[in-house]
């Protein structure tokens, strides 16, 4: 999250709403370790990453939904072997679990 703070600050000082997704855990192989983070603002601008590019697109639409509905933080999973998984997966075949929340704290 360290490396995305500058962008987040810029967005916040421009009055933009921001959501942050952080990698909580990975089963099997995954390109990023727990703690890897990306942020999305209300205009759909993105900073950081949570995978090797496999799931970022899906994270953006989830993040925009969350910014718009104003709900609490939630877990989202991507991968092939998980019931709650989305159609989007990691090319390496692992399962990635993210915590997505609005940056309102």
């Amino acid at each position: 999250m360290r490396e995305i703070l500058d962008d987040i600050d810029r967005w916040r000082s421009a009055g933009k709403k921001v959501a942050v997704a952080r990698v909580i855990n990975i089963e099997g192989s995954g390109p990023r370790d727990p703690g890897a983070a990306m942020a999305v603002n209300e205009d759909g601008e993105v900073t950081g990453s949570v995978s090797g590019g496999c799931v970022e697109g899906a994270v953006v639409s989830e993040a925009l939904d969350l910014i718009n509905d104003g709900g609490p933080g939630r877990m989202v999973s991507f991968g092939y072997s998980d019931d709650e998984a989305f159609a989007v997966g990691l090319t390496c075949g692992g399962v990635i679990r993210l915590y997505l929340e609005r940056l309102d704290w």
Binding site: M1, R2, L5, D9, R22, I24, N25, D33, P34, G35, P72, G73, R74, M75, Y99, E101, L103, W105
Partner: protein
């Protein structure tokens, strides 16, 4: 100042800081921030229950010490043992540390080194293996190490000794005076928290003579050396020895006696 602003200020100042967030279960989104400023621990935020805050702050502090990031499970009132978690909703807490991992430098590319490097990795260390002998100091022999350096101890300490601090460890497993004397001398010149030197009591006595020959003889300095290395667990294999060394490092850091809890009294976590 919001919790995020506080968090950001610590990260910017390179203060070791850890953020604990409830990611599933009751209270999702609640946060606790633990920062270490000049040796003091500052806890901010709340997860919604006093006992949960206390237990998570303790665990977060431990994760921060080791530079680890991961998930832990609790009951809503801080219950942490499996028995206590039956029939309660689970609070899933993501603890994220923002500090460089502690370092362990291991001198000597021997069998004990591979076992020690493995155990050190489990504990979250960034492991550097160092030996002057090119044929032994290879990444193929030590794939678990973060770094394998083919060099003598003196240039290693000259260039990077200043990065060693109280959380870090230097383990000297060489058994070879021409290597371990400069390694001990280099380590003593740093602020490293743990210096362990392998060898029998007899080897250690001889080593002290050689150190005296090169001008290292102050009792205060020499008292920093943990030699023979490790806790007296009675193990013999490289793996058992690695556990004995790492257990000693933990006990030195916490200041605990390293006895069985059954034999001691008072608070276990303090």
């Amino acid at each position: 100042m919001s919790l995020y602003e506080e968090f950001r200020a610590h990260v910017r100042a390179q203060t070791p800081v850890a953020l604990a967030t409830i990611v599933e279960g009751p209270g999702v989104g609640a946060k606790l921030l633990v920062a270490r400023v000049d040796g003091d621990e500052i806890v901010s935020g709340t997860l919604g229950h006093r006992d949960l805050d206390r237990v998570v702050a303790r665990d977060t502090s431990g994760e921060l010490e080791a530079g680890r990031t991961g998930v832990r499970h609790y009951g809503p009132e801080g219950q942490a043992t499996p028995e206590d978690l039956v029939d309660t909703p689970t609070v899933v807490v993501f603890i994220e540390s923002f500090s460089p991992p502690p370092q362990m430098w291991i001198f000597g590319a021997v069998d004990f080194t591979a076992a020690l490097a493995r155990v050190a990795k489990v504990l979250g260390y960034r492991v550097t293996v160092c030996d002057a002998r090119e044929v032994f100091a290879t990444t193929r022999r030590f794939p678990m190490a973060d770094e394998v350096m083919v060099t003598w101890p003196t240039p290693m300490f000259d260039s990077r000794g200043h990065t060693l601090g109280p959380r870090d460890a230097v383990c000297i497993l060489t058994h070879d005076p021409k290597f371990d004397v400069p390694a001990v001398r280099g380590a003593l010149a740093t602020g490293v928290g743990y210096i362990g030197v392998m060898g029998s009591r007899k080897t250690h006595a001889k080593r002290l003579e050689r150190l005296a020959d090169v001008g290292v003889s102050s009792a205060e300095q020499l008292s920093r050396l943990m030699s023979p290395i490790g806790l007296d667990l009675g193990g013999r294999t490289p793996e058992e020895t690695a556990i004995a060394i790492c257990a000693e490092i933990i006990a030195r850091r916490t200041g605990h006696s390293a006895s069985s809890l059954k034999q001691t009294s008072g608070s276990i976590h303090s």
